[in-house]
């Protein structure tokens, strides 16, 4: 065995990229995005962009899309999250088809950096948000530039929805806003809205929605979840620094124990407090956000993500743990079953606890590391900071894997 400091992932050649594509087949749109990432890996670092430059791009996009006069004003940076650049602005216009009286719509431009902590398709995000309009509260989505024809990097434009991700009474300080405390007054209303939204999402007929960039897995087969595992295995192999035996063990276990799908649901993919906005006055959910990891799959994926300890906190009594800042775990599950009419299978819960811990570790240990190493994001210092949570995520993975292996007998 010859130790070397050469890192094939930092400047991957065509054979390396083709090898991973062949080993880990994924959905076509995801394959396109990941392949593009790898083909550009050895190229330029993320180029800082100014508000003025992005405003100019917006002008060009809108000039191509709109027939009537318009004005872009109030461009400003938005903060929060560790993934994408976001700019808020106001558009004075006549609406998409030019028939409305002149009015002002607050909007958001969401743009990928050169590489992100999660490399995803703005096109899939656009399709999913558009498909969900009328089903659950989502921002109206207007345009996507997945091929970066107008913007420096892939981008999406949608309506700015009023609301807050966490109430001003919650003073906790974390980089990505984990573990939100809604407080005893708002909590029941937020919980009811969350369960209602999740029920609409998980029971919707995904086949009836316009989602051309998504594959629809078949109930009775485990091909869909195996596809997702292949995607994350590929991402791990594209992005990791040193290998990690525990991650390999988990990957093999997830393949060997993949459950057949019993009901195809729309899965948010990062389903938790903090990824929806509320009206602070009444607790009503005004918009579900951050759809970049959405897939069609198994509802237990969202359930285990939402009930992760990372998003839990103690109630006011100091002894009752509230998952997702909402309810004790058993009550959370019961409320979900009542809202959806779907059952919760504990074997699948155990499976997706392993899956989610493994995915979170890939994001924070592998992709965050790789993007920062190449200087590929607008906030590499945030990404290296998030590497610090890697040990905790591996501890969570090890615990989940031990528990699941004991229950499954392997």
């Amino acid at each position: 065995m010859a130790a070397t400091t050469f890192d094939p992932r930092q400047t991957p050649d065509a054979a390396f990229i083709a090898g991973l594509r062949a080993r880990f087949p994924v959905e076509p749109e995801i394959d396109r995005v990941l392949t593009r990432k790898m083909e550009r890996r050895g190229g330029a670092r993320h180029r800082p962009v100014t508000l003025e430059e992005l405003a100019g791009c917006l002008e060009r996009l809108l000039a191509a899309k709109l027939d009537r006069p318009f004005v872009v004003t109030e461009t400003r940076w938005m903060t929060g999250g560790s993934s994408k650049l976001q700019v808020a602005f106001a558009l004075d216009w006549h609406g998409v088809d030019g028939t409305a009286p002149r009015h002002v719509t607050p909007m958001v431009l969401r743009m990928s950096p050169a590489e992100s902590i999660v490399e995803t398709s703005r096109r899939r995000e656009f399709e999913m948000i558009r498909a969900l309009a009328g089903l659950i509260p989502v921002p109206e989505v207007y345009w996507e530039d997945e091929d970066a024809e107008v913007f420096p990097y892939p981008a999406l434009v949608f309506a700015l929805v009023p609301g807050v991700a966490k109430p001003t009474s919650d003073t906790s300080q974390q980089v990505t806003g984990l573990g939100i405390n809604y407080g005893p007054a708002l909590r029941p209303v937020v919980t009811a809205g969350f369960m209602d939204g999740l029920a609409r999402l998980h029971t919707a007929d995904a086949a009836a929605l316009a989602l051309p960039s998504f594959e629809l897995p078949r109930a009775g087969s485990n091909a869909g979840i195996l596809r997702q595992v292949a995607m994350w295995r590929r991402i791990w192999e594209e992005d990791r620094g040193e290998d990690e035996p525990l991650m390999q063990l988990a990957a093999g276990w997830l393949e060997d124990n993949a459950p057949a799908l019993d009901h195809a649901s729309i899965i948010h993919g990062d389903c938790r407090s903090g990824n929806f906005l509320i009206d602070e006055a009444d607790g009503r959910i005004t918009a579900w956000l951050d759809w970049e990891l959405a897939v069609i799959g198994d509802r237990h994926q969202d359930l285990t993500w939402a009930t992760s300890l990372a998003y839990a906190h103690m109630a006011e009594d100091g002894k009752t743990l509230l998952v997702n800042g909402m309810l004790p775990l058993a009550e959370f599950y019961a409320a979900y079953e009542r809202a959806t009419g779907l059952t919760i299978d504990q074997a699948r819960i155990r499976y997706f606890r392993v899956y989610n811990a493994w995915v979170a570790a890939i994001v924070c240990i592998a992709t965050a590391y790789r993007a920062a190493k190449g200087g590929k994001s607008h906030q590499d210092v945030v990404l290296t900071w998030l590497n610090g949570i890697g040990g905790m995520l591996l501890a969570q993975l090890r615990h989940a894997l031990i528990e699941a292996r004991a229950e499954n007998g392997r």
């Binding site: 400091t5 903060t79 040193e242 210092v381 501890a395």
Partner: protein, 162 residues
Amino acid sequence: MIPEIDVQLAAVAKALADNVLPAVDPANPMAVEQLHLALATLGIVRQRLPDLHAYLRRDLTEAIALAATIGVDAGSAAAVLGSPESSPQRIEAEVRAVKEAITARIEAARGTADEAAVAAAVLNAADPAILRWRAWALPMGFEPDPAALPALDDLLQGKTTT
């Protein structure tokens, strides 16, 4: 060695905190947030740099032990570990090479009579390495119960596991 690396890092942190931070536009929240994180990162690097060599040596010691347990040839790893001339970079490269060999063994054991024993060894070996990572990253503030973690010095000496 003049200047010591620690003095250089301290000087950079002081320049950023005393002179750059007050000049940053408070209306640019990304700049403010990233400067604070940069300062915090510099502080952690200064705190941890003296222990880097010991950390990597412990990583390699445990990787060699796991390799032996599951029947993986660790190649030159023991020689690198035993040499006082091995740089941190050399040790780190050796850790990576041994871990690559271990993961290949895990994959090869799937579906064989060895699978359960290999899995048990990997899960067992992961415990001290994870604890060490968590203790190393403690100043970053992610741990919900910092007092529950063993001391980093003990973990670097291989003294403590859960």
